[in-house]
Symmetry: C5
Subunit: 352 residues, 5 copies
């Protein structure tokens, strides 16, 4: 049922820079799509073999290679050698349980980003690691599987008069980062909707799975929050330690993206508080129902027990007993039962 | 029932500065009111068309344009071009789910502020985004819908000898910020009253909606608190990074406003603690009621079960049984029932 | 029942420095007591009219004016003009919901302090705002109502050889601050005693109001804690930003007072933890009682239900039934009842 | 039962440096033990009268005076005058509810330390204040009552070739501080054992006092944690602000003691988490027991109620009823009772 | 059952540097394995006696001595004297309850690390202290018992062309630290699996030990988290204060290890949140079960009590009663019972 995870602990004791694929395989086949562009022209191509990338001759000012599903250490190693990438960087590309971070390796800036999608019910998060290697005129983007996240950017590049074509590699890198961060908004909105549905259900008539749903919802929010802290840190770092990779105009845009992460984080704090509140409400509602149930039971017992006792008393076999021989005795007895029941219910009613 | 929100995620992948209206539309029609004033004179006017603002010729030293309900990217773009506003600023004006912030764009200082109103029962908050663009002799104020918040300031301006008229744009900007922050006090006071009503209800006899009310109250307080942190940050920033937009006397006043936000934040902390305490009290009260209910049930069972058994025993059809033939047998039996009931109740009473 | 509060929100939109009395009026009449003293002499007087203060001619080196219950903006304005006080300072003196703070206005240091008293049961806090204006040879002290807090200091001044008389205004200011902080210890001690009483009640036999008492106790501690943070900040600031108002010996004493606030804060943290723990204990005790109640009910049901069934069985009207005709049948039946009851109770007993 | 505490609030309004004994008296009689030592010799003596200390002539290089139980302001004042101690320092020595702190008074370094012992069941902490006054060739140690804490250090001094004798006053001061911090380890270990016992009891069969024990345990841990923060601060300060009182080798040792406090703090964090977890477990166990109790009750009711109804039905006095005249009618009826009981219990069994 | 721990408190009052073995003995016999290597050669040997290490003549550039199970102060003291180790360092090696830390003693860098293993059910952690002494051409590694953690590194050294052989002592030290940190990933993965099993059990049908398991799981996570903070601090310190012990390439690798600890810490935060959520879910599920139990009881009582009353009524011995003499009276009565039961159950059904 569950795909076997390749675990991180397999790497214990290995020398640094050893390439081993860690984490789940999320797509069956790997592939490369290339966008080779300059201010005037754009060539879009799809390489048949992974190793072709190493021999690809660049035609225009900028090359954006999008590599997805790559899990073969040998092929990655070939690409690494061709472009002069640091072994630690290659190691992190293969290890898809990586933390989001920005690292500077001389000519290259290396970014690890996460993209999220909300999975099917019960709500859960699907995470993809996106590794960006940003160099002069080169942008390598490693994804775990093909996705539509960057399609709008490709569309913008395809337009002949696109600003993006002549704006330089840093503008493209910013656009990719921006669309990753924007994809968080979609996740937040879906979680928001889910929370509203849950809220209605809990305040209305909660079904049997509501508890599991709250639990899953909390886990999602908690997981997303935990991942946003490194993202914010990363984006803050782009404007400080790694500022020389980006032009001053792009810096302004990056500050804007940074503000978005802060905004997302606050939305997540709201969702977390909401989840806690929902659980509290659910618990209290549940305790309230115990109360109503008990009240019903007490009322039933209070009405029927005294009456049953009176019936029992007049069912005793004593030779001489009052009322038994009166013609209206039966009605006296049942009248007494009714009176006592009414009085006791009235007493209970008043106490509350 | 619920107005369709324009969601933030629609903008994923778009180039920076793309103008798209995000967030709910809160008013049907847009409009502009102008206050064109100097130390001696004041002209108040209402522009019929949004685009007229771009062609408006200023007559006095200062111009305060109040624009509400603007959601059309084309018209905003025209205004932006006329006054030389940065595209990112225009983007933020349209996106009404913005975080409160202060940003400096050369000649202009751009502020995003939130105004709150307390909605109808169950208690909720209605948020309006107010965008202030503060320049030399110019103040643009973008609101989501017309409101009375700035009416007292307009009143002060209309007076012929108003200090505000000759005090410069920074004094007007301060006055607007101050009245936004002051409007929080009204919200706090309404929440305070609501909390007192809730407290009385919970400690007295809580109705069926009390839980939902606590939940909504907590959400309001939590939402407001979350929004106050950026506001405090913003006001702190006005005295540091953006200090050159304000004279030294205004700095003193801004410090005062900053103190108010700290005060509001502490009041909100109190309200949050109160909300948590109220939920705890409600939960414990609820558990206490289960107890009382159970006690009632136990007392009923303890009184009637032994008596019913005795009645049952003397209702058995054995040929020879004690007491049955005695003339006072019936009274012996009922006396026994009474005695046992009294003894058992007394026992229960003593144990507690 | 509740005095109408003058609310802070009334001031929204007013120009800064507008004088409006905010907060409850706590005394019917206002008054001024004067201590005009120097190393050799002391004159103590009571001004009949508030406005006389503006015309008072100082006779000795130092003047300490204690003004209580002042809520009239006109009179305060007159005093302000006479002594050259800043409008923002006057505004804060009237607004008795002010946060504790220290502000420097050129010649004057302005302090807002809070004094607390523990009110009657259920425990609550009564807060008084004390505004100190400290200048050269002048100390104005604005209180919401007359109190005994500063009486020991007046006593010390009245002694002819008092160190305090010749020690300068900063020593007097320190003495006032010190006695305000010392008054917190009394509050802590009263809360401590209250907590001990609550603890005994909860671990013993909790009455019906115990929950409300814990709730009120938590509110008090929470409110006091919230107010102590600004106080600590204020006192820390006296040794840094406002250090030039105090001599170096007084600095040493102020550091001591600062340590006291830290100590008080830690005591309050203890009290808060205690309150949380008490609520937990109360909740668990309550759940434990449900348990005991249920056990009692189960025991009662376990003893009487089987017996009642047996009585019912021998009360059936079948023509031929076993035991009915035996002389000892009745005793067989009641023996059976007893045996079953004993066995079932024994079973229950062993399971626990 | 409880010794009357002298309360801190008594000092409100008094001038700084006023000597009043605050806190409980913990021993009946006061005393002084002297260790007057140099590299070659050691004289150990016991002064009969407190005031003799002021006139004691020192014979060797170093004097360590251990004063316990001193609560008389006059005698303390005499000592203070003889050694030139600051009034604020004397005030803190008498006030035994002091916070742990290090203060520098010119020639003297003044330390307030706390020593703890674990009291009898229910677990509680007994606190002693230890005031150290460290000067050149002089160490005054004020304790609330005599204790064995420093005995091992005295033993080390008594050895003729002791390193401690010639190592200087700072080494002795370090040794005293170190043994106070080491005494915390003993407290932690006792609390650890107590927690293990509690854990076994809660997971096994909790007695009636278990809740009170958790409550007391939490209070102890909370109190100790609160007191460790000032201690850590103090020890950190010894290496920074007060570094000139200690040689460089002693600095290394003090860093070690500082690490111990961090370690103790982490152990206390563990104990606090454990206490919280234990309460959670206890609460959940308690709720689980309610469940079992209810299940028992339901089973009893489910077995006996239908049977009692059938017995009641066949006990009705209708003229014509089925089965009554059959010879095996009784066994039909009791068989029916049994069948229904078995079926219902089976149903309940399957649902769980 | 439990091995007697040697407690930390035994050392109170002893002079600094006193060697006493603190903590559990984890292996019966001690031993030394030596790896004496240089770029060309490697000699692996096993010393028969602990004291032989002091006299060992080094043959190659680097010596890695792995000492396990050493608890004899005399032997350790001999080693310390031979290599010139500081007494405080030796003290920490023997005290196996040490905090993780890095300390610089002139020529030597001293590290205390912890290695964890997950013990048998109920889940628990087994901790081993690893002391590393890193000098020029010398690495002493003290372990509490022999383990396989460093075996992969030995394997790498044994290869004739190993990079590690010629890379210098800092590379070896890094490799050891890296494999200790990597071993945490294995622990996290085991805890992860355990949590998943627990989650399934709690959401499915929780057994009687589930509460104890959550409790133990929380303790493990809490203990691990507490220990990771010093580890992260330690690794951060290696790149700052102790940076001169490591080459610049190794610095890069150490930054990578530091990132791993941050990653592990975030995983632990997730696990802690999960544990809290699981307990909440368990508590709420438990309360939900009380509800179902009560509902069953109420339904049983609601069906049978009215019927039993009717049976009782027609079992009364009144002379004249309705229905008794009708031929179908019995069926009227039982029909009435059935009708009432059906109606009441229907009522209950509708209310929910």
């Amino acid at each position: 049922m569950k795909k076997p995870k390749k675990l991180r602990s397999r790497k214990a004791g290995m020398p640094p820079g050893t390439l081993v694929a860690i984490g789940e395989a999320k797509t069956a086949e790997a592939g490369i799509t290339l966008l080779d562009f300059g201010p005037e022209a754009l060539v879009e191509s799809r390489l048949p073999e992974m190793r072709d990338l190493a021999h690809y001759r660049q035609q225009h000012a900028c090359l954006w290679a999008n590599i997805y599903g790559l899990r073969d250490p040998v092929e990655l190693s070939a690409i690494g050698t061709a472009f002069g990438l640091h072994p630690l960087m290659l190691e992190d590309i293969l290890n898809t349980n990586q933390r989001q971070k920005a690292e500077s390796y001389g000519d290259y800036l290396y970014l690890v980003l996460h993209r999220y999608e909300v999975g099917a019910a019960p709500v859960c998060l699907v995470q993809d690691q996106i590794s960006l290697v940003i160099g002069k005129g080169l942008l390598l983007c490693f994804q775990e599987r093909p996705s539509k996240t960057f399609e709008p950017i490709r569309e913008r590049l395809r337009k002949s008069n696109a600003v993006l074509r002549s704006a330089g590699m840093d503008m493209l890198a910013y656009s990719l980062i921006d669309s990753v961060v924007d994809s968080y908004f979609a996740v937040i909105e879906q979680l928001d909707e889910h929370a509203e549905r849950l809220e209605l259900e809990i305040l209305g008539r909660p079904g049997p799975t509501v508890l599991e749903q709250i639990h899953q919802f909390r886990r999602c929010v908690s997981q997303l929050r935990r991942n946003l802290h490194p993202l914010r840190e990363l984006l803050g770092g782009l404007g400080r330690e790694h500022a020389h990779y980006f032009g001053s105009e792009i810096q302004l845009y990056l500050r804007d993206v940074y503000d978005h992460t802060v905004h997302i984080l606050e939305s997540l704090d709201d969702l977390r508080d909401l989840a806690t509140s929902l659980l509290d409400v659910h618990l209290t509602t549940s305790s309230h129902r115990v109360n109503l149930e008990l009240r019903a039971l007490t009322v039933v017992a209070t009405i029927f027990m005294p009456a049953t006792l009176i019936a029992g008393i007049f069912g005793m076999n004593f030779r001489s007993m009052p009322w038994l021989d009166l013609p209206a005795g039966f009605f006296y007895a049942t009248g007494l039962m009714l009176t006592i029941a009414v009085v006791m219910v009235a007493l209970f009613w008043r106490r509350r």
